[in-house]
Amino acid sequence: MTDVSRPVVGVIDYRTGNSRSVGRALDFLGVPNRMLRVPGDLAGVDRVVLPGVGSAGTTMGYLADAGWPAALRSLVAEGDMPFLGICVGLQVLYEASEEQDALCLGWLPGKVRSFGDGVRVPQIGWNQVRAAGAGHPFTAGLPGGGDFYFVNSYFAPPGGPEVAATAEYGTPFAAVVARRNIMATQFHCEKSGPAGLGLLRTFTALAREELCR
């Protein structure tokens, strides 16, 4: 039941569970998708999902080895291809991460920090997300509050115009960022039940013109 007018979503593949989980969620939603090993696999792909794997340093290492940073910069950061980062895929959008002192993609200002000593780490579980900022089509359908599944020991700064939703774990942090065609969730939307699948569906349906007006 493939609808030719529907976008094909490319999922950057680390050959670990996360990428496949996103693929399975897209399959469940009936959204055509395929795994991407290298930028050369992008032909015919209309939008890209970047799941995270393990840690910021590991993820950046993998991306660099496969040649992704330059390709994503030109297509996404300087272009208009819709992009969704998930978990560590959100964190690597910032300039750097305290985790392994990793230098990251630097599309968003600021540094990703450790939750520190006051809370159980990793944060593992369902946390309440609240909309923030001026609004973005990606979070337009996000109700006033919603519970989403988080797994993280590091967090992105909660301020800044790109933050579309926040959550709190000892300290407030960015739960969703959205700027033009760049969207990312700290939580695992592919593992957050119907609410998470709803956000994934929204991502696959947003038009470039709507995002990059």
């Binding site: 989980s21 794997v53 990793p122 579980g125 119907p194």
Partner: protein, 262 residues
């Protein structure tokens, strides 16, 4: 507590069937694993754990087609345990659709497997699960709880709290404390060991074994657990009446003041 009180359905799987044990024995058939997992997902379960309880004994991997069938329909976290002896086994289980690997008897035999898993997949992917039994306090077992392995049949001489600390050091991202004494009794979790482990480590601790009422789960959260395995409440063939998940969440929220995912 900033996170919701996390409720987990844990399935003892034999082949593609869910079974239910009491004190780690006398398993009764409950039903088709994928169908039951899909039902509890629809009901709003927060997480699912599959233990392939014979995989280890039969020296084979967990049943991958069942994991794949569940992962295609169930979009909450899925943990799989049983039969995992190597990084290769972990890869296979994660590839099939789990996000976490549960290590139990195998971790006691070869603690380094926890560290290997954490290095390869990240701490969050490695769950240390332990079967514990009340014993007299001795110099070797100061907590009064001993770690058992191989379906609670073999004593290890390890102290439960000490083993939890060691697992955290090695890289476990969560620790399941499964009380053999309480397992399947519906008499409540063993709160003493749940609290002792939760106080001893910084990673989240999951209470397991003994759920009979929502109040039991509430007591486990108060004792410091971040999550509770409530399988018995949901589908035990030995319960006079199983409790719908919505009712459990309602009670946790209204009578115990806990945050729950709606």
């Amino acid at each position: 507590m900033p996170l919701t009180a996390r409720l987990i359905a844990c399935f003892d799987v034999v082949g593609d069937r869910v079974t239910k044990a009491r004190r780690f024995a006398d398993n009764i058939d409950v039903g088709d694993a994928a169908a039951i997992a899909t039902q509890v997902y629809a009901d709003g379960i927060d997480e699912v754990i599959f233990y392939d309880i014979l995989a280890s004994k039969e020296r084979r991997q967990a049943n991958l087609p069942v994991i794949e069938a569940v992962a295609a329909q169930v979009f909450v976290p899925l943990t799989v345990g049983g039969g995992i002896r190597s990084l290769e086994d972990m890869h296979a289980v994660l590839e099939a659709g789990a996000e976490k690997i549960s290590l139990d008897s195998m971790a006691v035999r070869n603690p380094e497997i926890i560290a290997q898993g954490a290095r390869e997949f990240g701490r969050q992917a490695v769950v240390q699960s332990m079967q514990v039994r009340r014993v007299p306090v001795t110099a070797g077992i100061p907590s009064g709880y001993e770690v058992m392995i191989d379906g609670a049949r073999v004593a290890t001489g390890l102290d439960a709290v000490g083993w939890a600390r060691r697992g955290e050091e090695l890289g476990a991202g969560e620790i399941v404390v499964n009380s053999i004494d309480q397992d399947g009794t519906h008499q409540g979790y063993d709160l003493a060991i749940t609290k002792a482990v939760a106080d001893a480590v910084r990673v989240p601790v999951i209470a397991s074994g003994g759920a009979g009422t929502a109040a039991h789960a509430a007591a486990a959260f108060r004792a410091g657990a971040s999550a509770a395995i409530i399988s018995s409440l949901l589908y035990s063939p030995r319960m006079e009446r199983t409790v719908p998940l919505g009712e459990i969440k309602d009670e946790l929220s209204r009578e115990h003041g806990l945050l729950v995912r709606i």
